[in-house]
């Protein structure tokens, strides 16, 4: 099993197979992320291809002190933001004041909180979570997907977004609570 940094160095020396190994390793997690963000398979495939091409052309800027996976997803995240900007779709920045309410957010368990997740069979719950994800603002959806689908750690997500770990953690918790609230509205 090759180290990502080693594959990058080999690619930069002209080894085509090294980059092929990178694509094979990351196509699935990257496509999973892009797919859940744009919600259309063909579009997600096109965007994932474009991101790999952009990654290849930017390889000479990669610094080995960083993790390749976080660097790749940073490129992917920025690519999506540019894509939405060109399509004139508002993709909320993680610091967008519209929904950011860290100061006022209450983490207290409400009294008589209804049980929502426990009501459904696991398969049905997964479908409802997928539907709820579509309603999340892009920035929160992105964090949710990275945490629960790509299974990045909070530190890795913080490295991708260039934010403190605490902020990322709060946002992920908010995303989960929003998903839960969407489920509550459906019952």
């Amino acid at each position: 099993m090759y180290d990502d940094n080693e594959l990058v160095q080999r690619t930069l020396k002209g080894d085509k197979e090294a980059f092929e190994m990178i694509v094979r390793e990351y196509q699935r997690p990257l496509f999973n992320y892009i797919g859940r963000m744009v919600r259309e398979k063909e579009l997600a495939l096109d965007l994932t291809q474009e991101i790999f091409i952009k990654t290849y052309s930017s390889l000479h800027t990669f610094k080995p002190k960083y993790r390749f996976s976080t660097w790749l997803f940073k490129i992917a995240s920025n690519y999506l933001i540019d894509y939405w900007r060109k399509k004139k779709i508002e993709a909320f920045s993680i610091d967008h004041p519209k929904w950011q309410d860290d100061r006022n957010h209450s983490w207290t368990i409400p009294a008589n909180e209804p049980s929502v997740a426990k009501k459904f069979e696991l398969q049905e719950l997964r479908k409802k979570i997928e539907a709820a994800l579509e309603k999340l603002p892009h920035s929160l959806r992105e964090l949710f997907v990275w945490k629960h689908i790509n299974e990045f750690s909070y530190a890795e997500i913080a490295e991708i977004k260039g934010l403190p770990v605490g902020t990322v953690k709060n946002r992920v918790f908010q995303a989960k609570e929003m998903v839960r609230q969407f489920l509550e509205k459906q019952t």
Binding site: Q49, F52, K176, R180
Partner: protein
């Protein structure tokens, strides 16, 4: 211990607490119904979230990416082999057609070459006429340009120099504006 907050529940579920804190929370959960329900709710939510189905790429995806980044270049030998195959196929078809038609095989190239020569001759005639047209245009252009310069000279004698300068400035301004608008439209597309 007072009731847990939602973020503490998530931290507990994600094993993001010190062992002492975990023990305290575990003890509280065993005693507090409200917190236990909230915990079980979020536990189920996380269980489903971590097991969401994966989006799969098609089997040829990697090859598609690699072929876009590293396009395959055909060698000159491949082109020569393709050309030789084409020529051989042409001659083979030619012989098959004449064998099936039972014509005299030797008479066919003669009649073919006659019609081919006729086409060739016509092509050269058209080419010659085209070059004649081009040389006529090249002779006309300087004449037309001469007339244009005479026209400009006439206008400059009729118009006030200040008006002439204003006209030149306006035309430069409009040209610049036109280029800017076209460039902006082009970039927007």
């Amino acid at each position: 211990m007072k009731c847990l907050s939602i973020d503490m529940i998530y931290e507990y579920l994600e094993d993001d607490l010190s062992p002492q804190k975990r023990e305290t929370i575990a003890r509280h959960l065993s005693m507090c119904v409200k917190c236990k329900n909230a915990f079980e709710e979020r536990q189920r939510l996380l269980e489903a979230s971590y097991s969401l189905p994966s989006w799969e790429t098609p089997s040829e995806f990697t090859n598609q990416v690699i072929s876009r980044i590293f396009p395959v270049k055909s060698s000159i030998w491949a082109w020569m082999a393709a050309a030789a195959s084409g020529v051989m196929f042409f001659f083979l078809a030619f012989f098959v057609v004449f064998l099936l038609s039972r014509q005299n095989i030797l008479s066919a190239p003669v009649s073919f070459s006659h019609s081919f020569l006729a086409y060739f001759e016509n092509f050269f005639l058209i080419l010659v006429k085209f070059f004649k047209l081009v040389s006529l245009i090249t002779k006309l252009v300087p004449q037309l340009f001469g007339y244009f310069l005479k026209g400009v000279e006439l206008v400059t004698t009729l118009l006030n120099p200040k008006i002439q300068i204003m006209l030149i400035a306006l035309s430069i301004l409009f040209s610049g504006l036109f280029i800017y608008v076209m460039r902006r439209n082009f970039l927007q597309e």
